[in-house]
Structure formats: C-alpha cells, structure tokens
C-alpha cells in the first residue's frame, strides 16, 4: 500500500540523484505533493513558486525551453484548473517538454471537500491538442510511467492520488504511451478502470467470479492516447462493458471509451463515477460509497445487466 503521490516523490529523489538535469517546481504544497524529499536533497533544483500556479507553469516552461527536464506539481484542481490556460497556451501550444504531476485528483481528496476535489481534470487535459495523459494505479505503475515520461517529448499530465492504494503490479509489468494492462481474460464482461479505481475493479472481479461471472479488468493508465485496439477487442470478446472512475462521468474514461466504441464497435457502456455532481467533505472511502464508486456497485451493475 502506497499513495501514487508518495511514489512520485520517491521517483524524483531516485531519478534526480542520477539525472542532474531534472528540476522540480511546486506551488506551496511540497509536503502534500511529496516533492519535499527532493527539495531537501537537491534544494537548488527545487523551486517553490508560492501559491501561484499560473506563474509556476509559465516558469517551468521557461526552464524546459532552456533544456531542463521539468516536473511541476500542485493539486489537480490548481494544476489543471487554475493554470488551465497556461497549460494550454504556453505549455501545449509551444510543445514544451513539461511533466505536470497533479496530485489529489478526484473525490479521493476527502475532507477538504468539493473546492479541492478535481473531477474534471481528465476532461480538461483531454481536449488540449498534443497533451498526453497518464493515470497510474499504484507505486510500480507510477515510477515506470514517470520513467517513460522522461523519454517522451512534449506536454504530459500525470494524474496522481492522495490516498494509499493497494499494489496491483509487479516489477515485470510494462507501461507505454497508448498502452493498457488487462487483468484476466473473462468473457462475461470488461471493467475499464484507471488510477485509484483499478484495485476497486479488481476486487469486484473477484466477487463476480464467486457468482460465476467471469470478467476482465482493463487498466487504462494511458488515457491520451488511449489503447483503442484493446477497447475494441474487449467490446468484441466480452458481453457487458462497465467503466469506473473517480472523475465526472462526463469527460472521463467512460467518455473516452464511449468515443472509441461509437466509432469502432458500437456497444452499450455503463459508466460508474461522479454523476455530474460536485463532491463534498468526508473520508474518501465514505465518499466513494456515497457516489457509487465501489466494488458493490460494479457487482450490482453486472448482476442487473
């Protein structure tokens, strides 16, 4: 069990020790985004821009255009929301090689409530031309995806979470731009998940098995570009399609999968996630129950289908 933000912080220290070209930006949230360890170890390569996310993205772009490998962090609400136009116009339109590592995405933020729960960031980033979006499910996925990001040019958005998530991957697993990972080969249905909902989907898969329903789980860790081939394959090989995400169902992975199905393999998809409502305060697991982002709800959908 480890949060993906914690994994991000560890990645920065590990990789930053070897690669002196890496610089890290934060906006007064170094403890929360976990860039603090990098800050302590390499103080001259960590830039705390204060509570100024728009300035942070711009300054990070200036540094990237000067040849540095840049990681810029804040909460998803501020990285994708507050600094949206800076990400769009300064970073993406100029094809700046920047890694925007946004922590505290979704309802998973918990007690801080709706103002801090970004349930729109996938949608916001997805509509920016040239943007790449990753959403890792656990510790290993986070580190391997960030390593991949070092090889990729241009703007990247990496969606990270606040809470600890179970390990679902081993060191043998691989991640690539436009890829996905499929757990199992059940033909009764497919659950598309991403980030924190991958382990929830895997729990649901186990319960369904006990009811004699054999499903597979697809981790869409690369949201843009998305793995079209796998989505079409699952649509053709399995009966029921469900998506589950900690994001508004409008514009999230459910929408991404729907877009693919609509063009390539028309088929019904049940979208589990935030049903176009704002979040609220509470413990993350309680909020997931309240908003139906649970293994029980996934199981219910399959049993009723």
């Amino acid at each position: 069990m480890k949060s993906t933000r914690k994994a991000y912080g560890e990645f920065l220290v590990e990789t930053g020790s070897k690669n002196k070209n890496i610089v890290v930006f934060d906006a007064d949230l170094a403890k929360a985004t976990c860039t603090i360890d990098f800050k302590n170890k390499f103080p001259n390569r960590h830039f705390d821009m204060g509570i100024s996310e728009q300035d942070m993205i711009g300054t990070a772009c200036g540094m990237a255009l000067s040849g540095k490998k840049v990681f810029a962090s804040s909460f998803a609400m501020f990285a994708a929301g507050r600094a949206y136009e800076q990400v769009r116009n300064t970073a993406a339109y100029s094809h700046v090689d920047i890694n925007i590592c946004a922590t505290h995405s979704g309802l998973g933020v918990g007690e801080d409530g709706a103002t801090h729960q970004c349930i729109e960031d996938i949608a916001l980033m997805n509509v920016i031309p040239d943007m790449k979006i990753f959403s890792p499910a656990d510790d290993i996925a986070t580190k391997k995806i960030l390593n991949e990001c070092l090889m990729l040019e241009g703007p990247k958005y990496i969606r990270l979470g606040r809470n600890e998530v179970p390990d679902v991957y081993s060191l043998n697993d691989n991640f690539r731009l436009g890829g996905s990972n499929t757990f199992g080969n059940g033909v009764d249905g497919t659950i598309f998940a991403t980030g924190a909902t991958v382990s929830i989907a895997l729990d649901a898969k186990l319960i369904l098995k006990s009811f004699g329903i054999d499903v597979r789980v697809v981790d869409l860790y690369s949201i843009k570009p998305v793995d079209v081939e796998t989505i079409v394959k699952c649509a053709s090989e399995t009966k029921i399609l469900v998506s589950v995400e900690d994001h508004n169902v409008i514009g999230g992975i459910g929408s991404v999968v729907s877009n693919v199905l609509c063009e390539k393999y028309p088929k019904k998809l049940v979208k589990i996630g935030v049903q176009d409502k704002f979040g609220k305060s509470g413990k993350a697991d309680k909020l997931y129950e309240l908003y139906g982002i649970t293994k029980e709800n996934i199981v219910r959908v399959f049993k009723e289908s």
């Binding site: 610089v23 001259n44 390569r45 830039f47 821009m49 204060g50 100024s52 728009q54 300035d55 942070m56 993205i57 711009g58 300054t59 990070a60 772009c61 200036g62 540094m63 990237a64 255009l65 000067s66 040849g67 540095k68 136009e85 800076q86 116009n89 300064t90 339109y93 100029s94 094809h95 700046v96």
Partner: protein
C-alpha cells in the same frame, strides 16, 4: 560620431519596419497596428544593437527575447525578418491560412522561442529562462516586453514576485507604456498608474524613459547591466501608440484595425 551614425542606422531600420508593419496588416486585412508601431524602437534597438542572438555551445541563444504582448506580432516578425530569421517575401503572408506567420507568435516560427499573445503569460517564461541561466552559470540576458494594458493580468504580479525572489538580475523587462488598450485609456479601464512605485514595491530597479528614443533605450539597458545590476530591472518606456503614422497616433481605434487603400498610401508617404 560613430554613435550618431549608429543611431541613424537604427532609425532607418525602424522606418523600414514601420513600412512592413502597415503593409503586413493592410494585406492581412486585420492585425494590431497601434501597439506594434509603439514598440518599434524597443525591438529594433534590442535585436539590432543590444542583444547577442548567437547560439551558445548547447545551441541556445545567448540573449533571449519574449514578446509577452504577442498581439504586436507584426513588429516582431518585421524585426525578425531584418535579422534574417524570416524571409522578407514571407512577411506579406501574415495571418493568412497558408502561412506560418500566425496572428499571434507561435514558436514554430524561426527565432520565436515560445508562443505568446494570451496576455500575462510571457514574464513567467522569461523568469524560467533567466533562472535556468543562473542555475547553469550561463551568460546572457533575458528580455521581456510587456504591454501596459497587459499589467492588468494577475499573473504578471505573481511573476514579478518570482523575479524578485530569485533576484533575476539577468532579466530586463520593458513596459510599452502607450497608455491605451482596446476599450480606452489604461487609466480609465483599470487604473494602470503609479507604475514606478508599483514595480519598486515589488523589488525591481525601475527606469523611466522615452520609449521611442533609441538613445534612451540603449542607455537604459546599459544602466541595467551596470550600476543597476543588483536586482531585476524594469524599463518603463513611455511610447506613442500608432507612432509614426499621424492619423494613428494616440488613437485607441487603431489598436486592432487594418488600413484601407487610401490609408496605406498616406502611411507609406509619411514613412518616406
């Protein structure tokens, strides 16, 4: 004498740049003449006299320029053309669908480091470039041109706090202080006043000059590099919007409007 000749040479370039600006906007049938004409002397002085635009060992330009007020793209492209980045013949394709000369600067254009024009964003980028030079102990300066109306964007003031925090004394900011913006005077629209005091309060060295005077521009930059080099610098350049074309000078309606046939002829005559 040499200095005088040099100023004459730069003034001639300014005249040529102004001709290109009005022609580009005439052929495009749209664009921003007023705020392009106001900062001609600033860009010409920078590119043809002050800046070292050769590349360092890493292939990065030694001195950098960010046009944060990107709507002045006409003057930018005309000056980049004077420096050989953009072929002269391409200038008249400005803003056309089959041209790379976008309405606002794009870094796909040779000599342009970053896309700009959504106001308020360029100074942060300039800071990042200046910061990078400091981190690597690299020589060179980063120049950034802001509009006075642009100072209404909050990000500018976030960025100024960063310039100060990191003591970016390799950063020289120009404000094209022509006093006009789309909806009227900068004073009426959002009280853009007491700029020297505002910048001083944000920790910058401030100089006020006539921004249409090449001598004053060159001297102000010398000062910024010399006895004012302890802190980041801002040069408030008082300019005339539409400078050089009688019917455009200080006229707010020439912020974003193309010239018609007759207006083009009058303008070109005045620039003879």
């Amino acid at each position: 004498m040499e200095q005088e000749n040099n100023i004459k040479y730069l003034e001639n370039i300014c005249k040529n740049v102004r001709k290109n600006i009005v022609k580009m906007i005439y052929y495009a049938k749209s664009g921003h003449p007023g705020g392009s004409l106001s900062c001609v002397e600033i860009l010409v002085s920078l590119y043809k006299n002050i800046m070292n635009i050769t590349l360092d060992e890493d292939g990065k330009r030694i001195d950098k320029f960010i046009l944060s007020k990107g709507h002045a793209s006409a003057v930018y492209y005309a000056v980049l053309s004077e420096c050989g980045f953009i072929p002269k013949d391409d200038l008249l394709t400005f803003r056309k669908y089959d041209s790379y000369l976008e309405g606002h600067p794009s870094n796909k254009i040779p000599g342009v480091d970053v896309s700009s024009g959504s106001l308020g964003q360029g100074l942060s980028v300039a800071n990042g470039m200046a910061l990078s030079k400091k981190l690597d102990n690299k020589e060179g300066y980063v120049y950034c041109l802001l509009g006075d109306g642009e100072l209404e964007e909050g990000q500018i003031w976030e960025a100024l706090m960063s310039s100060n925090k990191y003591n970016l004394n390799n950063l020289i900011i120009f404000v094209d202080h022509n006093g006009l913006q789309i909806d009227g005077t900068t004073k009426d629209v959002k009280s853009v006043d007491n700029l020297d005091k505002k910048f001083e309060a944000f920790g910058l060295n401030v100089q006020k000059i006539n921004g249409n005077n090449i001598n004053e521009i060159i001297n102000a930059v010398k000062n910024a590099k010399d006895y004012l080099n302890d802190r980041p610098n801002v040069i408030i350049a008082d300019t005339v919007k539409g400078k050089g074309i009688s019917f455009m000078e200080n006229k707010v309606e020439w912020h974003g409007k193309a010239l018609n046939d007759e207006e083009l002829q009058i303008a070109l005559n005045e620039l003879k």
